[in-house]
Amino acid sequence: MTDQSDEALAKAVAEKLGMVLPTACVPGVAANVRLLESHIATMRKPAEPSQ
């Protein structure tokens, strides 16, 4: 998902929320979608052992 263009990511978000996304929001929303994707990946990684 994160290799999609800013416009494609923002469009997918707008459709999920049922909102018209102003053009000014597109780069920031896309950047945040990518950031959240990275946190999803981290959350799902196996935990390192504690000492």
Binding site: A12, V13, K16, L17, G18, M19, L21, P22, A24, C25, G28, V29, A31, N32, V33, L35, L36, H39, I40, T42, M43, R44, K45, A47, E48, P49, S50, Q51
Partner: protein, 444 residues
């Protein structure tokens, strides 16, 4: 006027008639007006402050008990309802909203105890940030170096206390928003056990994590304020076994913080080093829960008028609102597993100690922190070491370490319900000289 603004000292002076509450309020208001450049205060409440102070003095004149916080000046993060004023939550879009009809419950309790409300304070918009970089009210400056951030999102609260403008300040902490500015500004702060302090009349952000708390100049003042704001405080027990969290909490530290922790370890020896697994996963889960719940809360307003938000807040909220509910449930399940490790640690230790942030306050002209050798935005990443703790709803007292230079703080973390014990432990560290408020050149 040379006046010690420690809450206990001021209250004793007012109660004994050594000084009037009106004189204290006037001094606080004068200091606020002389400190415009901090950008800590959003509204100065001269009329209300003088009215409350006059009422305290009248009670004393009549021989009535004015309350344990008689005449003590304080201020609140601008997400607490103040009767007659719009609650902005740091958002320009709410600057002219309908005024609150009642004070927040915490303010009502402080009023009844004789405290005097003098101002509302700057914050990150809707509390979504760690630096107090506000599009409408500006960037709150660190009283110790105006070129540096005060931290956030309760940056105005920390700066007002550290700068000597007020005796204490209310703030809120969802992912670190009390602990981080307390650390960067060199004052004491408490994030209570989740749900322990009254949330009525507080603008929400993330229900799963939101708590109110407060900033003070001394550890002793923490218990004084807490006794007023809290419903039922458990008596403190003696904290005898402390440990230092390593692993995740020992990584990415600046040389200043490494040195400060080494000094702390010597002072508290023996201070065993312990680790927990899965902190990165926990922090990311907290990040996702925050994005989801914050996004859902704001989704209707964003659909209606997205451009009325600060772009840095808006785009985070929009992206978060689009996360699926199942992911929220998955993140909560991660929390349950993560909590088990802390339960085991608390079988052995009363207090776990960890840095609040990696080092001193970042500079405003270089707003980044180093994580694994890469520069990351401070606004979103200063909570690296606070998010995994509030994720669990644990109480935390932040104490300023007795270090030269810019302030550094550590978290004193305990099991749920141990708030009083943590405050007592902080007071003990203060008495032993391990912690102390970082003094500014302005109003000491």
């Amino acid at each position: 006027m040379t006046l010690d603004f420690d809450a206990a000292t001021l209250a004793a002076q007012v109660r004994s008639g050594t000084i009037t509450a009106v004189a204290v309020a006037q001094e606080s208001l004068r200091r606020i007006k002389a400190s415009d450049s901090l950008l800590a205060v959003t509204r100065c409440l001269d009329g209300r402050a003088l009215q409350e102070a006059t009422a305290v003095d009248a009670k004393i004149a009549r021989g009535q008990d004015p309350g344990p916080l008689a005449g003590v000046p304080y201020a609140v993060k601008d997400l607490f309802d103040v009767a007659g004023l719009p609650t902005t939550a740091g958002a320009a879009r709410l600057e002219f909203a309908d005024p609150a009809t009642h004070d927040a419950e915490a303010i009502a309790r402080l009023h009844a105890a004789g405290a005097v409300l003098v101002a509302t304070l700057n914050m990150d918009e809707f509390a979504y940030g760690f630096v107090t970089d506000n599009a409408r009210w500006g960037i709150t400056r660190n009283p110790h170096d105006h070129a540096c951030f005060a931290g956030g999102s309760s940056g105005g609260s920390a700066a007002a206390v550290a700068g000597g403008l007020v005796s204490f300040a209310l703030g809120s902490d969802t992912n670190g928003s009390i602990r981080i500015p307390a650390s960067l500004c060199g004052v004491y702060g408490i994030k209570p056990t989740h749900g322990a302090l009254p949330m009525t009349g507080v603008y929400p952000f993330v229900d799963t994590f939101d708590d109110i708390g407060f900033f003070t100049r001394t550890a002793a003042d923490l218990a004084l304020i807490d006794a007023v704001v809290r419903d039922h405080a458990a008596p403190p027990t003696s904290a005898t076994h402390a440990a230092l969290l390593g692993g995740w909490f020992a990584q990415n530290l600046t040389p200043e913080m490494q040195s400060a922790l080494a000094t702390l370890t010597n002072a508290l020896a023996p201070l065993p080093l312990v680790e927990v697994a899965g902190v990165a996963q926990a922090r990311s889960a907290a990040f996702l829960i925050t994005a989801y719940e914050g996004g859902i809360l704001h989704a209707p307003a964003l659909r209606d008028d997205a451009l009325s938000y600060d772009p840095a807040t808006r785009d985070r909220l929009i992206a978060g609102a689009a996360l699926p509910p199942a992911l929220h449930a998955e993140a909560l399940a991660v929390r349950d597993q993560f909590a088990l490790q802390f339960q085991k640690l608390f079988d052995r230790f009363d207090v776990l100690i960890a840095p609040v942030v990696m080092g001193p306050a970042p500079r405003i002209d270089h707003p980044v922190v180093l994580i694994d050798g890469e520069e990351k935005p401070a606004r979103a990443n200063l909570g690296l070491m606070t998010q995994p703790i509030s994720f669990l709803g644990l109480p935390v007292v932040t104490v300023p370490l007795a270090v030269p230079g810019m302030p550094l703080g550590v978290q004193l973390i305990g099991p749920k319900g141990s708030d009083a014990t943590l405050m007592a432990y902080a007071a003990e560290l203060e008495r032993n000289g391990v912690t102390r408020r970082t003094v500014t050149e302005a109003f000491q």
